[in-house]
């Protein structure tokens, strides 16, 4: 028997009107409010990543989180000052399902400030992220690699440029606009242009060709 039901029935059996019992329960609602507010606050607070103590020690995750949470952006210098293991910390934060989505999104964006091979592999493997917001950001994160790894990026863009989400296609087209023009890239963009209906994507595709 559930406790609340037991309490309710107990009062009722002793001749106490249910209306009074219910009134008392309603009156105690304000007591519950601070508790629920506290719970909500706790659930919204930056959640620790998995095995947080170890990671926090190695990567200074708390310091990185703070830099990422700034309303008006972050810099490479700011992130480097927060941790000696910045790219690894960012990958850890971006990947952690226990992490606040705001921090995850910011971590993906920050990866673009550190365009190394490991980050390229990391981003490339996540172009199909389940969360559409993250997926868009991962596609956009290919941008810094476009000028130097054109062929690889072009190959990676084949799927995103046909994605069902218009903004995934927009980001793919914008990244394509940073890849040095080649036959392969022109073919990819032209093929999509023939079927693309979204005006924003079409504009990005045109820009990718006309430069």
């Amino acid at each position: 028997m559930k406790p609340l039901r037991f309490l309710h029935q107990g009062f009722a059996h002793r001749g106490l009107p249910r209306v009074i019992v219910l009134s008392a329960l309603l009156a105690s609602a304000p007591l519950i409010t601070p508790w629920t507010a506290l719970r909500a606050q706790q659930s919204q607070a930056p959640a620790p990543a998995q095995s947080a103590p170890e990671l926090a020690t190695v990567y200074d995750l708390d310091a990185v989180r703070l830099v990422l949470r700034a309303f008006h952006g972050f810099t490479q210098e700011g992130l480097l000052a927060a941790s000696t293991q910045v790219p690894r910390a960012l990958r850890e934060l971006a990947d952690s399902s226990a992490e606040d989505l705001l921090v995850r999104r910011q971590a993906v964006k920050a990866l673009g400030l550190f365009p190394d091979s490991e980050n390229f592999a990391f981003v490339s493997a996540r172009l199909n992220a389940a969360n559409v917001g993250l997926k868009r950001l991962y596609v956009a994160a290919l941008g810094p690699y476009a000028p130097t790894r054109g062929a690889e990026v072009t190959a990676l863009l084949a799927a995103p440029i046909q994605d069902r989400d218009a903004l995934v296609r927009t980001y793919a087209a914008k990244v394509a606009g940073r890849v040095p023009l080649s036959t392969g890239l022109k073919g990819l963009v032209n093929t999509r242009l023939q079927v693309e209906a979204d005006s924003g994507v079409r504009e990005a595709l045109f820009k990718a060709l006309k430069r």
Binding site: L16, A27, L31, T33, L66, D100, R136, G143, S199, G200
Partner: protein, 456 residues
């Protein structure tokens, strides 16, 4: 004759359990019933009091750190939370700008509690000159009818510190600069008469475009009996949320989107429920069908978006909140710096009720978390900037220390690290989105908000 006691309370009262009667159960006497009811009534009174006590304690504002600001406060004869109304005054004919800086001259016909001005001109670098920007002498700051400086916008270096002067100088192009005072939450009575404001170009080397004829819109605030209301247009750009885009009535679909609703609930609760503010918020949903504006990579794109949607639902009546997919993303060759911006206000303050300028609104990134808590925090924070509030503590880019603070004396300045220990970390204008609810607003911050001409 045994009476069916369930009749006494109608259907609410179950019939007595015969088994328990067999074991000596006696129905409650009237006396016992009354004493229990008294006990419950006492609970009804005491429990809410206990709850409110807890809440008050949670919301208490920590003791402020002395910022060394000189007090120019003149006690006003009206309540601190008095609502205000604005009237627009016609400025005097302005001479074209010449080199250096000149003055805008305004005649305010009655005693007021606040004055706001929005300039317009073709000079893209037009700006109000505050003491410290071009380091003009403090005696050349805004002057009152008595010829004195009634309020210094930027009281710099009073104790070796500065408060943030113009953190958005890399973003705004100043085509509609706005100024509002007092922006430090003090209660002043500004005597009627002629005021002068120094204006000029932020580009000190610029001379070619300074022969610019100005127009100015002047707002002056006087006490009012009307409860202030803030009208906002919530614009969602196509592409951000495809479910909304595909709905036959996207604006209606916005009103049931959990993330947008969660965000608005936080915004409304912050501004309405805080005793220091008490502003009611009216929301108008708008959908922008062009996904071109969903990804903003350059300042030009931002300005184009903000300028392009001036009229709905009625012109010059509400503040525009633009929800987009991303701001300054790495997919662009030269994205806005710094990276990772999640929200912008196009002015501190923004040009009040004027729409259709390149700085008429605030931006926020949709977070795709389905709750809207962070989106709400971003929108609420950026609106605070638009109303003229600065960061309580301006932190450095490493988020390891402070480099300045706001001009408001009852907000705290965090001089400790890590920032998670800051006393102002739960304030609306803390520069880091800590994910805290509810966001705090001090008495003087509330006064700045309520004095803004945007409030009707």
């Amino acid at each position: 004759m045994e009476r069916d006691s369930s009749l006494l309370w109608g259907r609410l009262q179950p019939k007595p359990n015969p088994a328990r009667i067999t074991y000596g159960y006696r129905p409650m006497t009237l006396r016992n019933k009354i004493s229990l009811q008294v006990w419950l009534l006492a609970l009804l009174i005491v429990l809410p009091l206990m709850a409110s006590g807890c809440k008050k304690k949670t919301n208490s504002t920590p003791a402020p750190v002395d910022k060394g600001l000189r007090s120019t406060c003149v006690p006003a004869p009206y309540a601190a939370a008095a609502p205000y109304t604005y009237t627009t005054a016609t400025p005097l004919p302005q001479a074209p700008l010449t080199t250096g800086y000149d003055y805008v001259t305004v005649d305010i016909p009655v005693d007021s509690v606040g004055i706001g001005i929005v300039l317009a001109g073709t000079n893209a670098n037009l700006k109000f000159i505050e003491h410290g920007v071009l380091m003009i002498p403090s005696t050349d700051c805004m002057k009152s009818p008595a010829g004195v400086v009634p309020f210094a916008f930027n009281q710099m270096d009073l104790n070796g510190d500065t408060y943030v002067d113009d953190e958005y100088s890399s973003l705004s192009n100043y085509q509609a600069p706005a100024v509002f005072f007092p922006n430090n939450g003090q209660q002043l009575i500004l005597p009627k008469g002629r005021y002068t404001f120094p204006v000029g170009s932020v580009n000190a080397a610029e001379t070619a475009t300074e022969s610019d004829t100005l127009t100015a819109t002047v707002y002056y605030m006087t006490p009012s009996a009307v409860v202030p209301t803030l009208k906002v247009n919530l614009w969602l750009v196509a592409g951000v949320n495809t479910m909304i885009d595909n709905d036959p009535n996207p604006a209606l679909a916005m009103s049931s989107d959990p993330e947008l609703q969660g965000a608005l609930n936080k915004l409304i609760a912050t501004y309405r429920d805080n005793a220091n503010v008490g502003i009611s918020v009216v929301v108008n949903y708008q959908h922008i069908p062009d996904s071109t504006y969903a990804t903003l990579d350059t300042v030009t794109e931002i300005n184009t978006l903000v300028k392009s949607f001036p009229t709905a639902p009625s012109p010059n009546d509400a503040i525009n909140l633009f929800v987009v997919a991303s701001i300054g993303n790495q997919s662009a060759p030269n994205p806005i710096a710094p990276a990772g911006v999640i929200g912008y206000s196009l002015g501190v303050p923004g040009p009040f009720t004027q729409q259709g300028t390149v700085v008429s609104g605030v931006l926020a990134e949709y977070q795709h978390d389905g709750r809207g808590d962070h989106l709400g925090t971003i929108l609420t924070h950026e609106l605070g900037h638009y109303f003229g509030l600065y960061h309580t503590t301006q932190t450095n880019e490493k988020q390891t220390g402070y480099i300045g603070y706001d001009p408001i004396s009852d907000t705290t300045v965090c001089k400790t690290t890590p920032l998670t220990t800051c006393a102002d970390k739960d304030n609306l204008m803390f520069p880091v989105a800590m994910g805290i609810t509810p966001l705090q607003i001090t008495v003087e911050q509330g006064r700045v908000l309520r004095l803004n001409p945007v409030m009707k």
